[in-house]
């Protein structure tokens, strides 16, 4: 037939399941933030630090091999340094369980904590694009008339935030662990560093869940796209200011800062105090250096305010949920 019918056509195809629709919402949110200026650079920076971390792991790995690259470099710099390094290397080689496990645990503790503020910063960029914008333009009513429920919508938004944190936090951590152990002298490094990656996964994933929920809550607080990220950053900064002050006056006030709470959880998971004690007792030279750490610091490291942190984060999470339930309605 020469003339085609381009009027309205009916559609009888197969529908995509509900998980597919949730994914569409998540993708939409993630794409929105990735299109914002500067975000790709931020993400790139996170992965660059991952590379740097891999390099550090490589260096540490080399310390366990006699006449390694590190020893040679040390020799080029200073013969005494070379002596020191050789001593250390020999000992470490004989105790891989302690050396690999302890050092990687400490390093990944540090690295996970390093990426956390970067991720919180990135989340602040996502906050206005998550729910605030939808509230401002009455999009909720459009969503409500589609084949999704409010739960699907919120789940999709949660996944957007979770995915963003995945590429700024979890991804670089896992990548650093994988590449760092790939360039290690021995395959057994993967096995010996299982504690490090295990702790990292537990901490980072819980941190991601918590931060995503808090970001969603913050995003629902107002309909103004400039206000909600401002509130997010203000809360973060307020937490940073109050933590050192409250340490001397009312210690429980420190739990108002989600950054501090997550710090405490990290310490409870990674248990750096134990690692340092092991190093103090076992590792020569390095252990001596570590014995110079003040007892108060050791005490603080050894007793993280874990319960308080959990409670505080649970309360914040609950508050977020309440705010979201109240604000995200089809009316």
């Amino acid at each position: 037939m020469p003339i085609h019918d381009i009027r309205y056509q009916h559609w009888e195809g197969a529908h995509v399941g509900v998980w597919g629709r949730r994914l569409v919402i998540a993708r939409n949110g993630l794409m929105a933030v990735l299109q914002t200026k500067g975000v790709w650079q931020l993400v790139g920076m996170c992965w660059v630090t991952g590379l740097a971390m891999s390099a550090v792991l490589f260096m540490v790995g080399q310390l366990l091999v006699a006449d390694s690259v590190v020893v040679q470099w040390a020799g080029n710099l200073n013969p005494q340094l070379q002596m020191f390094v050789r001593l250390l290397t020999t000992w470490l080689e004989q105790h891989p369980e302690i050396s690999v496990r302890t050092t990687q645990n400490i390093l990944f503790h540090y690295y996970s904590m390093y990426l956390m503020p970067v991720s919180i910063f990135a989340l602040g960029i996502l906050v206005p694009l998550l729910i605030t914008r939808d509230l401002a333009s009455n999009a909720i009513i459009i969503y409500s008339s589609k084949a999704i429920s409010r739960g699907d919508y919120l789940f999709g938004k949660f996944c957007s935030a979770f995915a963003l944190l995945g590429i700024t936090w979890l991804g670089p951590v896992c990548g650093a662990w994988f590449v760092g152990n790939l360039v290690a002298p021995d395959w057994r490094f993967f096995w010996h560093s299982r504690a490090a990656i295990g702790h990292s996964l537990v901490f980072v994933v819980s941190g991601m869940i918590v931060l995503s929920v808090l970001a969603m809550g913050m995003s629902s607080v107002s309909t103004k796209e400039k206000s909600t990220p401002a509130f997010w950053y203000m809360w973060w900064i307020f937490g940073g200011v109050i933590t050192p002050i409250a340490a001397h006056t009312q210690p429980w006030l420190r739990h108002l800062s989600f950054n501090y709470d997550l710090n405490q959880i990290a310490m409870a998971i990674f248990r750096p105090a134990d690692d340092i004690k092991i190093a103090q007792d076992n590792i020569p030279l390095l252990g001596d250096m570590l014995r110079n750490i003040k007892p108060e610091t050791m005490a603080a490291l050894g007793t993280p305010a874990f319960k308080g942190a959990i409670v505080a984060l649970a309360v914040m999470g609950l508050l977020s949920t309440l705010i979201i339930r109240r604000r995200v309605k089809p009316e």
Binding site: Y8, W11, G13, V16, I141, Y143, K146, A147
Partner: protein
């Protein structure tokens, strides 16, 4: 036209009740609606919008049941909404996207796979008459374009029924005509049931075949427009170029009530079932009628009458 014989009733409610605190917004509403173009009328705050919101699950039902497309609204909401479209009254859209992305996204939210969604999005944008504007961000659109966009996102997933809340709001006369034409064609040509909720009775008169009037939480009228007009036969608006006073005097002699309207037309209540007696009168007077509009305000009068009766009964 697509005839879906497996669904004789597109909307069915039994004892549908919605209570807001002290107020009974809907009071045991029983309705059986067949597919077609339906006009939903009612005073503000009297249950009309609540009725639509309950069917669309924007509000939970207090008691009773409602079936849309043969499925229970309370339990199968998600499934039903795969085949339901809605254009809300207020200004709303999903931000941060250009027109065609927005409609594609809406299609995907109703379960269409991406390829089909993208294809249909553009087809629907053609259908509603959007040109190159579809590649611009929605925030930059005029009222007319936003209304068309609302319609496009409501039909992109090929619904069986579309709810339109004040579809011509804010549009200039040309825009109004275009949207009404599109909505009219949805049922007439493509078999998609449309439920138009509007205060503009002229619009409803033009495109709707069935009329439902909801007031005080109850259904006062549910009938076809034709039947309603037939009941109101006996009045006509006569447009003549000259000699209005003579015509009025002649009507008075015939004992027909007549009124001169501000636009120069004369409303005559002749109480006959055709215009022939009136034509006879005009022929005798040698006045040529330019137009004779029968039951000009049938819908409005039905509406007012229904409300008055309901008021008297409470």
């Amino acid at each position: 036209m697509r005839a879906d014989t497996s669904l004789p009733l597109i909307i069915e409610t039994k004892g549908l009740t919605k209570v807001y605190g002290q107020q009974r917004a809907l009071d045991a509403v029983d309705l059986k609606v067949a597919p077609g173009s339906i006009g939903l009328l009612g005073p503000n705050g009297a249950g009309k919008s609540t009725f639509m919101k309950c069917l669309l699950q924007l509000q939970p039902i207090t008691s009773g049941s409602a079936c849309l497309l043969g499925r229970e609204v309370g339990t199968e909401g998600r499934e039903i909404r795969k085949r339901v479209g809605y254009t809300p009254e207020q200004d709303c859209h999903i931000p941060g996207m250009v027109g065609c992305e927005y409609v594609t996204y809406c299609a995907q939210l109703c379960g269409l796979p991406f390829q089909a969604a993208r294809q249909r999005a553009h087809e629907m944008l053609d259908f509603v008459g959007m040109g190159q504007e579809r590649y611009r961000k929605i925030d930059t659109y005029s009222t007319g374009m936003k209304q068309r966009m609302k319609l496009a996102q409501a039909i992109v997933h090929d619904p069986q029924i579309v709810f339109l809340d004040e579809p011509t709001n804010g549009l200039d006369p040309k825009g109004q005509a275009q949207i009404l034409e599109l909505v009219h064609s949805l049922w007439k040509t493509y078999g998609i049931t449309v439920v138009v909720s509007s205060h503009l009775l002229h619009d409803v008169d033009r495109i709707c075949e069935q009329i439902i009037i909801i007031a005080r939480g109850r259904v006062l009228v549910h009938d076809t427009l034709e039947n309603l007009k037939a009941r109101k036969r006996g009045a006509a608006e006569v447009v003549v170029g000259e000699r209005h006073a003579e015509l009025q005097a002649a009507c008075t002699r015939q004992q027909w009530v007549s009124e001169l309207l501000p636009n120069g037309h004369i409303k005559v209540e002749h109480k006959e079932d055709s215009l022939n007696p009136l034509l006879n009168l005009l022929h005798e007077l040698k006045i040529a009628p330019l137009e004779i509009i029968p039951s000009p305000n049938a819908l409005e009068e039905t509406f007012v009458q229904a409300l008055e009766i309901s008021h008297a009964n409470t």
